[in-house]
């Protein structure tokens, strides 16, 4: 199968590669660029685990081809924390609120919330919850994710009730 050259900026670093047209962005990020924090849970766009940020938008990297990301800026969970290691507000909220267990769906959840709350955006709790309906978590029953969402929407996280 013929190959195509692609270049993109991943977590602030330029990355070039040569891929078959059928290679998904997820496979490119994982296998070519080494960002294994991109997790593949279903490969048909339902579970949301593979979500990354492409040019500011949350994208399911299993449904986008690597060649479609040519020239784009891509961010994965590995690139979210500050250079000094300080966690991103989304990561901190999820840590504080026990929003994960096995951690497999987590990078996707983090990236969607980061995309929606970035650039000084002020989404409502309802908007964030609606976005979270596109992420499947089999472990937590979404309790901690709800609390993190409430905190990110600017309200007080409400404990158990």
């Amino acid at each position: 199968m013929s190959k195509h050259d692609v270049t993109m900026t991943i977590n602030g670093r330029r990355h070039s590669g040569s891929v078959e047209a059928r290679i998904s962005l997820a496979d490119f990020l994982r296998d070519e660029a080494g960002y294994t924090g991109v997790h593949l849970g279903c490969e048909h766009g339902v579970c949301g685990a593979c979500t990354v940020i492409v040019d500011g938008n949350a994208v399911r990297s299993c449904l986008m081809l690597a060649v479609q990301a040519e020239g784009s800026g891509v961010k994965t969970a590995e690139g979210l924390a500050a250079p000094d290691g300080a966690l991103h507000p989304v990561q901190q909220a999820m840590l504080d609120e026990h929003a994960l267990q096995c951690g497999f769906c987590t990078p996707g959840v983090v990236m969607t919330l980061a995309a929606l709350t970035g650039d000084e955006k002020k989404p409502t709790e309802e908007q964030l919850l609606a976005a979270m309906s596109g992420h499947l978590c089999r472990c937590t029953g979404y309790q901690g994710i709800r609390r993190a969402v409430r905190r990110l929407a600017g309200a007080e996280a409400g404990g158990n009730s």
């Binding site: 590995e78 924390a81 267990q101 951690g103 979270m132 596109g134 029953g141």
Partner: protein, 910 residues
């Protein structure tokens, strides 16, 4: 009294942040698909598109031509490996199972050929080019098919995989049921469930020379996988190292390798390059072992006051073609009435073969007992005309009733289901809800309240070979930091956090200073990991005791160095202090440096270093209790169920970390919501799975799961630390709580048949009194009346035809397997006959016991009295046919169990 005791609870019981989380939140987890090794090749499978038939031919020549394909293997290529696909109990399957299909396929998705290629993409391309010709046969799909259809496996005598209990209800029980003031019959049809961990199965297998094998595999315990692989693949001389640092959920699916993983391991052994197979979601949904698919009928007799008199249960479960554990689920009957005053219970329980993918565990495998009991009690309350709360109050075992024993002889000493129920009632205003419900009905809105209570067996150890104690190895490093290697394993359980809390608490150091290592079979010691809600209970106890032993060692050394009474020394925040002499305080590091580096300063007989290890053997079983309530609104227009509130009152004893406890409960409850409302693994009449994506198999999303409210009851258990297991409870108590709420909401329309899932179409059908769901799946067999013998499939009637003159030829040694409530038990038997009298002994790892009995023709009978785990007389009734021994063992209240045996020849072959 001592400083140590006063300071206890510094870290246990706190909602500390999890140690695992910063890494996982930053994409730095290490899951199996993240492993990439030099020279590694990729595997894909060609799978059967039919449920049943013979393989006529396999053509691989076209597939082999694909660039990048290295090899294509079939079962013929793997046959030189002698693989025994043992179960979780490490015992052989009822019928031989091969990694790849050998000559015949018995479910859709069964792996037939394995492709090794440069990439997964190429491997899949080639797999699609393998041409396999089949002679397709009509499959046996449902339990109803299995009862009357052809044999799934020609080698078996019927489609029953395993059976226990009595086929006929005893006259005494029958009289109690029929003569009671009220007889309530409840039937539950439970759909098939896909465990659906977000990380699918996967393995990277590396042969390191001839003596070493390294497996990276997503699993529930690396130790269990290492043990299983050594035994199943017959590799006693091979150093097997299993690594699973992070695992994306298990839920019972990943107890040990199965067909695909074994095929990849064998391929790696023969091909000599590291091989990776990562299951995709399509494969996971159609070909990974599944769970549930059960039918049960429960009868309960009540007196005029609503007190229970007697009960009978008839249970069936679809085991598929190649179950991981052949199972008739005796635990359903063991725990059905454990929390209730039930005088008499009888049962029949069976597992059935079918041409579907095999059965595996799923969170609370015996959960049917709570689902059918609690929904039956609500039905009884409606039928008798008393409140659902009241019917439970009249029948639950309270603390005042204990100690006692259940009708199945389980010791009941410290359960609090009744007390949890009262806590729930105190928290939730039921009369206010009833008023709201009444008002809503007038507006055409259907609100319902569901209540359920239960107990759950947790922390089991000692009755099953693989259910062992847990090991903690704790050390203070020469740097003063504390590290521990544990036998635990986390698939999201947070054991690196909770074990560190236990150790920090009892050692007297900061939580941040403790690091827990697990996830590698070369560290720690054996345990089955996450199986049966056990790690917090048992490993928590091990960590506590090991930390206490280590603290004592520090005190001995410090007392010697300071020339001070040991009792005056205490450890806090990593410092060693002397009561009343603050100038004598020292860092742990300074003590550790002496312990490791200056042997001349150690007290006589003091083992250098600061290390302690403890393997904790807890009581055989620890019971967790709980009561849940939920409120739903069912839409009269759409049949859609909205869960408005959900309250969990759970007594899991000491909570190491309440956030982890609540996370476990909430996760189980969310899965329960999926079970009741959404999830369904269906098959068409040809045995094709009809849910192959997450668009068809619906997992609960955030909009389906409410905020859970927790009412904790912390009654310490009898274990070190007082913990009780909490991993499975939500998935057990959730389904009946939600079903009861829906049934309550729709009670004005009559009884809601409990056929899961309760989809909007089914519920709208009940509201509108018409069939909207369109009978999506086949009607299960109707339950025969109590006492009516069942007509079973095929060839059971081959016994007793041998003329009586033929000597039994029982004499000699036999290897036998008995299917007991604790799982299959292997034993050896020695028999000697003289005329009609028989003598001999049975031996098992538990010991040896003699017996005498009789021989009549080829039938031998004898009794054996056992006291462990329970006092019962086992009545053996066996038939000898050549070198085979078959028959039944009557086991008192446990009914009968099947026994199979083979003559032990004094052969040299291993």
């Amino acid at each position: 009294m001592t400083a140590h005791e006063i300071k206890a609870g510094r870290h246990i019981g706190r909602r500390l942040q999890r140690k695992e989380d910063p890494r996982l939140l930053s994409g730095r987890g290490q899951f199996v698909d993240d492993i990439s090794l030099p020279g590694m090749l990729h595997v894909a499978f060609a799978r059967s598109p039919i449920a049943r038939g013979n393989i006529l031919s396999i053509r691989t020549d076209v597939a082999r031509e694909v660039d990048g394909v290295h090899a294509i293997l079939t079962q013929q290529d793997l046959a030189r490996f002698k693989v025994d696909m043992i179960n979780f109990y490490l015992l052989p399957p009822e019928l031989p199972i091969t990694p790849l299909a050998g000559g015949r396929v018995c479910y859709v998705g069964e792996p037939v050929a394995l492709v090794i290629a440069d990439s997964r993409h190429i491997a899949e391309d080639a797999a699609s080019l393998i041409e396999i010709e089949y002679a397709e046969e009509d499959p046996v799909v449902s339990i109803a098919d299995a009862r009357h259809g052809p044999l799934v496996h020609a080698e078996s005598e019927s489609n029953i995989v395993q059976q226990m209990g009595e086929e006929e209800v005893s006259e005494e029980l029958d009289a109690l049921l029929k003569g009671a003031a009220h007889l309530v019959t409840q039937k539950v049809v439970h759909q098939r469930i896909s465990q659906s961990p977000m990380e699918t199965r996967g393995v990277v297998a590396v042969r390191d020379g001839t003596e070493e094998l390294t497996l990276y595999i997503t699993c529930q315990s690396p130790h269990m996988v290492a043990r299983w692989t050594s035994l199943a693949l017959g590799l006693p001389q091979t150093a097997i190292r299993v690594i699973a640092k992070d695992v994306g959920g298990g839920f019972g699916l990943k107890n040990h390798p199965w067909k695909e993983e074994v095929a990849v391991i064998l391929a790696a052994l023969s091909f000599g390059r590291p091989l990776k197979w990562i299951e995709d979601r399509y494969e996971n949904l159609i070909a990974a072992n599944q769970a549930r698919e059960q039918e049960m009928v429960l009868q309960i007799a009540f007196d005029g006051d609503g007190k229970m008199l007697a009960s009978h249960g008839d249970y069936s479960c679809n085991n598929g073609a190649c179950p991981q554990v052949a199972d008739c689920n005796i635990a359903v009957h063991m725990f059905l009435w454990a929390a209730y005053k039930m005088p008499v219970y009888g049962f029949l329980t069976r597992g059935w073969y079918s041409n579907t993918v095999g059965l595996a565990a799923y969170r609370g495998p015996w959960a049917m007992e709570s689902l059918i009991r609690e929904t039956a009690l609500d039905k009884a309350a409606r039928q008798i005309g008393i409140d659902p709360l009241e019917i439970r109050r009249r029948n639950l075992v309270t603390l005042r009733d204990q100690p006692t024993a259940s009708c199945m002889n389980i010791p009941i000493e410290d359960i609090t289901a009744a007390e949890c129920l009262e806590k729930l009632v105190a928290y939730f205003d039921i009369p206010a809800f009833r008023k709201e419900q009444e008002a809503a009905r007038k507006e055409g809105r259907y609100l319902g309240l569901g209540i359920a209570t239960y107990v759950e067996p947790t922390g089991s150890a000692g009755s099953i070979a693989t259910m062992t104690g847990e090991l903690a190895q704790v050390r203070i490093e020469p740097t003063g930091m504390v590290t521990a290697t544990m036998s635990t394993h986390s698939q999201g359980h947070g054991t690196a956090t909770t074990m560190a809390q236990c150790i920090a608490d009892r050692l007297g150091v900061a939580y941040e200073e403790v690091t827990v290592y697990e996830g590698d079979s070369s560290r720690g010691g054996f345990s089955p990991g996450a199986a049966g809600s056990r790690q917090g209970v048992i490993a928590g106890g091990a960590a506590i005791r090991a930390a206490e032993m280590l603290a004592d060692k520090v005190k001995v050394l410090a007392a010697h160095l300071l020339q001070i009474n040991k009792e005056l020394i205490f450890i806090e925040e990593g410092m060693v202090h002397v009561t009343g002499a603050s100038d004598k305080s020292r860092t742990l590091r300074s003590i550790a440096e002496v312990a490791y580096g200056e042997p001349s300063r150690l007290p006589p007989g003091f083992e250098p270093g600061l290390e302690a290890q403890f393997r904790y053997q807890p009581p055989p079983l620890t019971l967790t209790s709980g009561a849940n309530a939920c409120v739903v609104e069912v839409s009269g227009e759409t049949g859609f169920v909205k869960i408005r509130r959900w309250i969990s009152a759970e007594d899991c004893g000491t909570q190491i970390n309440p956030a982890v406890v609540e996370g476990q409960v909430a996760g189980g409850l969310a899965q329960a919501i999926g079970t009741v409302l959404l999830e369904e693994m269906c098959f068409d009449a040809r045995g094709n799975p009809t849910a192959a994506t997450y668009k068809d198999y619906l997992l609960p999303s955030i909009s389906d799961v409410p905020v859970f409210e927790f009412v904790h009851a912390d009654t310490p258990s009898q274990t070190i630390g007082g913990m009780r297991g909490v991993g499975e409870g939500g998935a057990i108590i959730g389904p009946p709580t939600l079903v009861n709420a829906i049934s309550d909401a729709l009670s004005i329309f009559g009884e809601v048949p409990v056929e899961l899932p309760l989809t909007p179409a089914k519920l709208l059908g009940i509201i509108e009194g018409r069939d909207i769901a369109g009978h999506a799946h086949a009607e299960p067999d109707s339950k025969p009346a109590v006492g009516e013998p069942l007509v079973e499939a095929s060839a059971v009637e081959t016994l007793a035809e041998t003329p009586p003159e033929v000597p039994a030829l029982i004499d000699g040694d036999w290897k036998m397997v008995l299917s007991t409530p604790m799982g299959p038990q292997e034993m050896k038997g020695h028999f000697e006959s003289e005329g009609q009298s028989l003598s001999g002994y049975l031996s098992s790892p538990e010991g040896e016991q003699g017996f005498t009995g009789t021989v009549e023709g080829n039938r031998v009978t004898f009794d054996l009295k056992v006291v462990k785990p329970l006092k019962i007389t086992l009545k053996y009734d066996l038939t000898v046919e050549g070198d085979k021994l078959t028959g039944k063992v009557k086991m008192g209240i446990f009914g009968s169990a099947k026994l199979m045996g083979e003559r032990v020849r004094e052969a040299v072959e291993a």
